[in-house]
């Protein structure tokens, strides 16, 4: 296993939580949706923290680049955090249409972001970060 396979698996795990949340809202299972939304947002927050505080910093240290791809990824994380706040707000108001609309927006933003990471950034981390294996061990505290 390398960084790409591990972090891509984390993405798929978040996708599973996202699909379960959408399913609960569609079935009007609000209590279930609350719990699923909380765990989805927590997984996403942990994943963002892992990337911003460890992965991106290691890549920036290895390549000497500041800004560029990692800055764009951080900016998109911020946009997703805002959408997750909107999602929680819609859920609190039991607004099924609002949740569906926010989920749809979040899904597209999340997946185009994942594409960039899985296709380019993670493979770059695997090849450029000198001690990628040690970093992988640190990041594996979240088991997908």
């Amino acid at each position: 296993m390398n960084l790409t396979t591990h972090l891509s698996a984390v993405h798929r795990h978040c996708d599973d939580s996202f699909a379960a949340l959408e399913q609960a809202v569609r079935q009007q299972d609000w209590a279930g949706a609350d719990a699923l939304c909380a765990s989805f947002c927590e997984e996403m927050a942990q994943h963002f923290a892992d990337e911003e505080n460890r992965l991106f910093q290691a890549l920036e240290a290895a390549t000497g680049m500041r800004g560029g791809p990692t800055a764009v990824m951080r900016y998109e994380h911020e946009q997703m955090r805002e959408l997750m706040e909107d999602l929680n707000r819609d859920l609190l108001q039991r607004d099924a249409r609002g949740v569906a609309a926010t989920c749809d927006t979040l899904l597209v933003l999340m997946q185009q972001h994942n594409m960039k990471e899985e296709n380019i950034l993670y493979p770059m981390c695997d090849s450029r970060i000198p001690d990628a294996a040690a970093l992988l061990q640190e990041l594996r505290h979240v088991t997908p």
Partner: protein
């Protein structure tokens, strides 16, 4: 040497939108051209709508999407957006118009000569894009597929240019050998692009399981080898009718995709019916292909195969893609213009789900009308009317989306 990814240099909003708008407007001459199809093959009255559809409608939409995709999937920066937005876009429209007008005027050489010059310039521009894609650090299956697809697009253009050299400039090249090769390469480009895109879109946006690993690694190569075998058969053993076997990977792709769609964890997703319809038509195409062995070049079969691939499969995917990509691009540009933590309208506010479902029904209606045209080409007018209906729906929905974007943009705090 590999380039660094440049996610911060994605194309501006106006670049893909311009191609998408042009794609919609090419439906108008396409509809008109269907009114004069005769029952021959090969026939200019069939080549005209085919090229209007392939270059005008699908070519514009796929090129717009490709320019956006290479930035996202492969991290290739858009270095000269104005050149792509104005130069290449204008060249594409003029080249398509010259070629189709040349077909309409019974292969009038001046128009074909003009088309050949314009398409040669386009081939040079696309070679630059291919160079950028080749230098991209992305090594995943979909990026490899995009590179191969672009190679086949260039090959299609070169074979088309060779035929224009015969028809427009009078060079003594074997036209009847070039024609099926050009057709194979064009089919190859469409399929390779869809294969590359489907590997990413299906699991990520439709939440299906991933395509099997062996397909992700070898699918594009398998298809390419099949095309080469088909081309070899056409060149060296033209009396044998086994070259349609080259299409077996296509049947495999259709079956694999339909199986994945059944396992989608987003059953409410409006894009899903688009993909069902598209891949069902691809399966139908795969089922029709063996008929080539004993029906030869029967005109009805040529129309049926062309419609299934371009009007059925590709057009359905392209329209679905427009409903997914346009609202997202509008949302993204609005979000980037808004101050931090300002809530901007969701995607549904730009194009409601019902709008996408209406257009899907219009596409569904096109299929029996296309079957009528395949059976009786003089009955092209119901299909033409349905295409005009589709154009009206697209314009109505996307003009409403643009208005919503402008209103939301004006409402942003300064």
């Amino acid at each position: 040497m590999q380039a660094m990814p440049s996610f911060d240099r994605a194309p501006p909003l106006s670049l893909p939108v311009r191609y998408f708008l042009a794609a919609a407007f090419w439906l108008l001459p396409l509809a008109a051209s269907l009114l004069r199809t005769d029952n021959d093959y090969p026939s200019l009255s069939l080549l005209l709508p085919l090229h209007l559809l392939a270059l005008g409608v699908l070519g514009n939409a796929m090129l717009g999407a490709l320019l956006q995709m290479v930035a996202v999937v492969s991290g290739v920066p858009c270095l000269r957006p104005t050149w792509w937005r104005l130069g290449v876009w204008s060249l594409w429209q003029l080249a398509t118009a010259s070629l189709c007008w040349g077909f309409y005027r019974a292969l009038a050489p001046p128009w074909l000569q003009l088309a050949s010059v314009l398409f040669a310039l386009l081939a040079a521009a696309l070679s630059g894009l291919l160079y950028g894609l080749w230098r991209s650090p992305a090594a995943d299956g979909s990026s490899r597929g995009l590179r191969l697809a672009l190679c086949l697009l260039l090959l299609t253009l070169l074979l088309g240019l060779s035929m224009l050299a015969v028809l427009g400039w009078g060079l003594p090249w074997p036209l009847l050998s070039l024609l099926p090769l050009h057709r194979l390469a064009a089919q190859g480009w469409v399929l390779l692009l869809v294969m590359a895109v489907a590997q990413v879109i299906a699991p990520m946006f439709l939440l299906t399981p991933a395509y099997p690993g062996w397909w992700q690694r070898h699918g594009a190569t398998l298809w390419l080898l099949a095309l080469l075998a088909g081309a070899g058969g056409l060149l060296w053993q033209p009396q044998w009718s086994w070259w349609w076997l080259a299409w077996l990977p296509l049947a495999l792709f259709a079956v694999l995709s339909l199986r994945l769609l059944r396992a989608s964890r987003r059953p409410q997703e409006w894009l899903l019916p688009y993909w069902w319809l598209a891949f069902s038509l691809l399966a139908l195409l795969a089922a029709l292909l063996p008929l080539l062995a004993w029906q030869g070049s029967a005109p009805w079969l040529a129309r049926a195969l062309a419609w299934c691939l371009l009007g059925g499969f590709a057009l359905t995917l392209v329209v679905g893609m427009l409903y997914r990509i346009v609202p997202f691009l509008l949302w993204l540009h609005l979000k980037n213009a808004a101050p931090p933590r300002h809530r901007v309208p969701a995607l549904h506010a730009f194009v409601p789900e019902t709008a996408a479902r209406h257009s899907w029904r219009a596409l569904l209606l096109l299929q029996p009308l296309a079957a009528l045209w395949v059976w009786q080409p003089q009955l092209g007018w119901p299909l033409a009317l349905a295409l005009l209906g589709l154009l009206a729906l697209l314009l109505w929905h996307f003009i409403a989306a643009a208005r919503q974007y402008r209103a939301a943009r004006r409402a942003l705090p300064s």
